[in-house]
Symmetry: C2
Subunit: 230 residues, 2 copies
DNA sequence: AATTGTATATCGTCC
DNA sequence: GGACGATGTACAATT
């Protein structure tokens, strides 16, 4: 990794065109060809960047101009950095790419779907799973189940359910009900948390809402204890 | 800005929980409280991060543990970094935050809307613009036009049109048609590119789809200096 | 503070 | 390789 602190300006052309006026910034060149220009504020996002694969050219002994190129489909993405003053320029050998260990996430939507597929009764009393990722031509329904009366139940799973989640399951229902066999199919929206407006909209469309608790699904916590939690 | 290259591990808990095993990484502490952990590969995105405002605590003379806290609504976001070996630890004074100049963009959706407002016939033969940002109580319609037969046409503009775009214009149409004068109003979805599923959904709802080309729109314009201007 | 809409979104996954 | 959905989306503008 090469880190340059420099007064610089930059021009990007690709999906759009940008111009970055001259100021003091951090330039980051990763081993895989990633290039990032960061200001000393503004959080997460670089001002400009290029994702790999890239080709990097440097003009001048002291770096005065750096051009980063990338083939993006038919067109070429291009980031041109002009350095007016270099305050620091250091490189660090950070080892082989595979020496880096991957980030381990817990609590994403996929986990929730796995757990609910194993315990569909949390989405509604007496539910049995028929299929995960039930295909429709506008995308898959997360869980397709049958209830105690053998009626179809479509379940949409979200970490956080919003109005958009209600729109999504509404679209699926629209699509499913084109087939007479699903004429009486019910809809369930299951999420760790459901926004108030989403709940209202779901209610008005006859879509059931279920809030589920990851810890309960995992059996790490008794459902009863939840009554006393916040 | 403080830059630390170190063998480190990290734990984040907040919207989800993550664990980052020990490896050599770059830690970036911006003046505004932003904290980023970058690997020497992987592009744009930090492995872990915290956006401002944050509170940063450091334990030990030589940094051995750094805890970044942030109040995110009711809960607290927390990033804990454990440093096993510090290879480099430098700070750079990059000047006042306002000394940084903002990025100037050209070619975003707003520009597309400007161009189509000037040349509405690209959204459909014989279209004349009546008003940009036609207000409804659920948000503005991008362009409101009339066609050769003096019928109303509502145009939604996107850089990339997705199913969500179809939902959006559908909501507007629903709202407009509550007023008898728009009973026969047609809908057009104009975008640089339209996703196949969006096209399917639009078709099934009687919404016309038009793909427009920014270069063509610009080519027909007078040679005017728009690049990088506001 | 909460909601909405855009993004050079980025990133995985599945077809 | 293209398309689609999730993301700690981030982020800005608006209510």
């Amino acid at each position: 990794m090469r880190l340059i602190v420099a007064r610089c300006s930059a021009q990007y052309s690709g999906r759009l065109d940008t111009f970055l006026p001259e100021a003091l910034r951090l330039l980051m060149f990763k081993e895989d060809g990633s290039v990032l220009i960061h200001a000393d504020a503004g959080g997460y996002k670089p001002l400009n960047w290029m994702t790999p694969p890239t080709v990097i050219e440097q003009t001048g002994d002291l770096p005065t101009r750096i051009v980063v190129r990338k083939h993006a489909g038919k067109t070429e993405d291009r980031l041109e950095i002009t350095l007016a003053e270099v305050l620091s320029d250091v490189s660090h050998d950070m080892g082989a790419p595979d020496s880096d260990a991957a980030l381990n996430k817990d609590g994403v939507e996929a986990h929730l779907q796995e757990l609910l597929a194993e315990q569909p009764h949390h989405c509604g009393e007496g539910l049995r799973l028929v299929r995960r990722e039930w295909p429709t031509d506008i995308g898959p329904v997360d869980l397709m189940c049958r209830d105690a009366d053998d009626e179809w139940v479509a379940v949409e799973i979200k970490r956080t359910a919003t109005i958009e989640s209600v729109e999504q399951i509404t679209r699926y229902m629209e699509r499913l009900k084109a087939d007479p066999q699903f004429a009486t199919c019910r809809a369930v929206l299951a999420a760790q948390s459901i926004k108030p407006q989403a709940r209202v909209l779901a209610q008005s469309r006859g879509i059931a809402c279920v809030e589920v608790d990851l810890a309960v699904l995992r059996g790490e916590r008794e459902p009863e204890l939840r009554l006393f939690a916040a």
